[in-house]
């Protein structure tokens, strides 16, 4: 049986067969597909080339904006507030990393 995730690595054009929703996640899992979540960091996407946008964003390098669930994702570093929030989040993450390292 074909894996529901094989399409990730295949470029499909318009008119390709309908794909299973990655939002459904792994069979039997209540969690969304982690690769779907990963698309939020990818800012390259060709909307016309792929029938399924979030997954397509993983393999496209065409330079367009990333989309997820039909919406456009922006790079947080394009705005000053996004940059500051990234820095604060990174500070919090690194703080707990350093705290977990034994003296």
């Amino acid at each position: 049986m074909e894996s529901p995730f094989d399409y990730r690595w295949t470029e499909r054009g318009k008119g390709a067969p309908a794909l299973p929703s990655p939002a459904a996640g792994l069979p039997g899992s209540r969690w969304p597909d982690p690769l779907l979540l990963a698309t939020i960091v990818d800012d390259s996407f060709d909307a016309l080339k792929f029938p399924y946008r979030p997954v397509a964003a993983l393999s496209s390098r065409s330079g367009g904006p990333a989309t997820i669930m039909g919406g456009t994702m922006k790079n947080p570093l394009d705005s000053l507030w996004g940059t500051i929030i990234c820095g604060l989040v990174l500070t919090a993450i690194l703080y707990y990393v350093v705290k977990s390292i034994p003296l």
Binding site: L77, I84, L94, V98
Partner: protein, 163 residues
């Protein structure tokens, strides 16, 4: 022998203020100013006189900051970069500073040379260079936040933060 770390700390602070100060100038002031100046055709002065000077002090203050920081770490340099013997906090700061120095010399400066016309480049190459330099600069701005936390409060007030 105490003169070396004392002078290194002083130099580290002065050069660091210049480096991060110019980084914040680029990100909080110049990017928006240049956009507005380009729109009304008054950007030539910034591009010709301000940006090259700011970049000169920016990239060399980055080097001085790193070298003074390395001198300040002294024989704890290896412990800091390997995050051992209670040096994890300052070590993370040192790693972030090193990544930022790399961004300055390997990404920001070579691409700014193309943007400012110091190196020959086509319009397409300039557009790409503009994006790479911008994102590298914004990355450094984001990294400066944890950098200053670990370099300043995270080190001198380790007990307060439980580090």
């Amino acid at each position: 022998m105490d003169y070396v770390p004392a002078l290194a700390r002083w130099l580290h602070f002065m050069a660091g203020v210049m480096w991060i100060g110019l980084l914040y100038y680029f990100n909080f002031v110049q990017v928006a100013a240049l956009k507005a100046a380009t729109a009304d055709g008054t950007n030539a002065g910034i591009v010709k006189h301000v940006a090259p000077r700011a970049l000169l002090f920016f990239r060399w203050s980055a080097v001085v900051t790193w070298l003074a920081g390395a001198a300040l770490l002294g024989n704890q340099f290896v412990d800091a970069f390997t995050l051992r013997h209670g040096m994890a906090g300052i070590g993370v700061g040192a790693w972030i500073g090193t990544i930022m120095l790399f961004n300055v010399w390997a990404l920001i400066w070579p691409n700014q040379q193309k943007i400012l016309g110091m190196k020959p480049a086509t319009d397409e190459e300039k557009a790409k260079a503009r994006r790479v330099a911008f994102l590298a600069s914004r990355t450094n701005t984001a990294l400066s936040i944890p950098l200053l936390f670990f370099m300043a409060g995270g080190w001198s007030h380790r007990a307060v933060f439980g580090l």
